[in-house]
Point group: C2
Chain length 254, copies 2
Amino acid sequence: MGTTQLESVQEPKYWHLKTVLSEALDSDFAVGEILPNERELAARFGVARATLRQALEQLELEGRLQRRRGVGTTVAPPRVGVAVSTAQHDWTGGADEAWQPIGCTTATAPAPVLAMLDVESDEPVHIVRRIRVTQGQPVAAELLYVPSASVPELSAIETSSGAARARSVVRELHRLGLDGQDRSVELGSARADDAKELDRLPGAPVLVVTTRYLAAGGTAAVSVATYRADTCRLTFGDSGDLEISHPGQERHAS
Amino acid sequence: MGTTQLESVQEPKYWHLKTVLSEALDSDFAVGEILPNERELAARFGVARATLRQALEQLELEGRLQRRRGVGTTVAPPRVGVAVSTAQHDWTGGADEAWQPIGCTTATAPAPVLAMLDVESDEPVHIVRRIRVTQGQPVAAELLYVPSASVPELSAIETSSGAARARSVVRELHRLGLDGQDRSVELGSARADDAKELDRLPGAPVLVVTTRYLAAGGTAAVSVATYRADTCRLTFGDSGDLEISHPGQERHAS
DNA sequence: CAGTGGTCTAGACCACCGT
DNA sequence: CGGTGGTCTAGACCACTGC
């Protein structure tokens, strides 16, 4: 440790900062508590605000912090587990925790979705907009692509393009039954419209869940749902619905 | 631009930049092609390098770009779909595409894992280190926590702490059979050791898949696997293994 | 209105890669 | 070694929130 600091960091400042802050969060802060503002934190740690922000970004990505412009930075509650694979709630919106139909339009599906649907590339499909609310907070925004062939009895002259029509499509779709589903999860960033529904800024990290619903030997519908990556933990229950609690992670104020 | 830009954007520069670059990627670049370096791109678009980098970060997050220090920025291939739910490959490493045991230690599990295991908090467990390789590329690094009770026949005096012991634990575990699994997916950032295995920098975005393996009425083991979020799309096949191709997304050089 | 986080700049130096 | 992306700085201004 003389001048020759072979102890030299190698570790970026923001990474070290993140570690220090993370430990402070565990020991000195309660959920919901607001942190000092960025300028003060940066000064306190002797770094530029940009560096401090890099550490905060990481912690927000990991679901430890929540930042809101004009308000401040608060300690986030543990991520909520949202069930994705329980099958029955997927297009019947269940009871308290469910999908809320917002609207419905008719247009051609984007190319990646088209590739999964059994329709001609220029054939318009019903596009149902839904959001999912858990514990009072919006956690996901979805676009559900439904070929007309999947909902043959839907009155073609249905003019309402709002929640009413959305509900009609989902109801008709439900009558088809379900043979199975293929699902994939990947990281994405929120489009402007999704961000608005999720109460986040555009570009916020989201988990994109793409589901193909199979019925009668074909693809009945395709759903592209974007979940808030900061607040959600997606759960897939192959057997039972065991909740993963996080004891030993409780945080108390100092 | 006119001095009075009533056309004022409202849209952040980096967001607009990202859109422009994204479209250019679709039309003017082939997979694997290298982009101009950051300083030149920034100059070309008339923005500071930091702003340009913000756009590139987004595109990398979405799996469109790949950046390597000392090398350059290249156009990434479409994300590879990795099956997560096929059950049989999960602790028998299958054939060509599988989990490779790297090592095995014995220690106490971290608190969140402990909460899912049926063991005393101070009871050491086997911790198997494995990596998953798909198409020649490492896609995931895993820590598999196995209580001694799950592998009773493992010779206690097994001294090797390397791949050999790891294989022994997995083999013994496999004899237990499997009643079911609970799984969750969330966003995280790579720890230093995971980052090394995944050939990424620490802090890189990863999809953390936590699996609880159920056998004989209890939790036989817990796996925490971190998948590269930039290159992976996790697939969950509830029925069949239909691959989602991306036609119409093919990119060709100009 | 004052205070917060979000965006942006124009530099500088460092760590790493290939030649 | 030169060139790349990665880190860091010290400012500035903007957009939003709440009082």
